[in-house]
């Protein structure tokens, strides 16, 4: 699956996108666990209670939402447009 990062998280993570293999029956919660296991800024920024949003196929979703192999996932801070 493709993962996109935006705003402050793009800067902190040092990347705007990456590709990960989608494990079977993948969910947002599962992906977050994988990312947190990287430690450092990943564990910090994606810790429970931190303010970030996850979108799957361009729709903001809750942690239980499923991710398909060809899903476009995005992780970003609360939005500040307008």
């Amino acid at each position: 699956m493709q993962i996109l990062y935006f705003g402050r998280l793009r800067e902190v993570f040092g990347r705007s996108e990456e590709f990960l293999p989608a494990p079977p029956a993948a969910s947002v919660a599962g992906l977050l666990t994988v990312l947190r296991e990287r430690g450092g800024v990943w564990a910090d920024e994606l810790a429970e209670g931190r303010a970030y949003r996850v979108a799957v196929d361009q729709e903001v979703v809750a942690e239980g939402a499923p991710i398909k192999a060809d899903s476009e996932v995005a992780i970003f801070p609360p939005v500040t447009g307008g």
Binding site: G7, A55, V79, T80, G82
Partner: protein, 156 residues
């Protein structure tokens, strides 16, 4: 003319041109135009420049969905949303919301709700540059969340 029209663009927009979309239409009794601009202060910091990042594709999708939500709730003629991206200077225009309706109440409420939804849902992120040369990502504000929440109630 489409009832909902959305543009996400680096170029500036022209208010008169946007208003011209509604020229001569006698079904329109009330037009509300909201323009948001780059202000010289934000959360107490002096600002020099602003850069707007966005999520291409999702931005247009969310703005269109916000416009359609407003059309479903209020009796509107049309909704136009323009949002700029990229580097902006002080006093530059950032966003335009233009709502046309037969009646002023609907136009005012819809324009206000669209801005509240846009502020909390549309994937844009502002990075400020201060006069000293530093940069800072703007924080989301609880106030904007509360403003958006009031539209969850039924209209009175």
């Amino acid at each position: 003319m489409d009832k909902v029209s959305v543009s996400v663009q680096a170029a500036d927009f022209d208010l008169a041109e946007e208003y011209g979309r509604l020229a001569g239409d006698a079904a329109v009794g009330a037009i509300v135009q909201f323009v948001g601009r780059v202000r010289d202060h934000c959360d107490g910091n002096a600002i020099d420049k602003l850069t707007l990042e966005h999520y291409p594709g999702m931005t247009e999708k969310v703005l269109t969905e916000i416009g359609e939500r407003a059309l479903a709730r209020w009796d509107l003629h049309s909704v136009r949303i323009v949002h700029r991206i990229g580097p902006l200077d002080l006093a530059d225009q950032i966003v335009l919301v233009q709502v046309a309706s037969a009646h002023r109440e609907a136009a005012f409420e819809a324009a206000q709700a669209i801005m509240d939804f846009l502020k909390t849902e549309a994937p844009f992120w502002k990075q400020e540059a201060t006069a000293g040369g530093g940069t800072r990502w703007v924080d989301a504000r609880d106030k904007d969340d509360r403003a958006a929440q009031r539209w969850q109630k039924d209209p009175t």
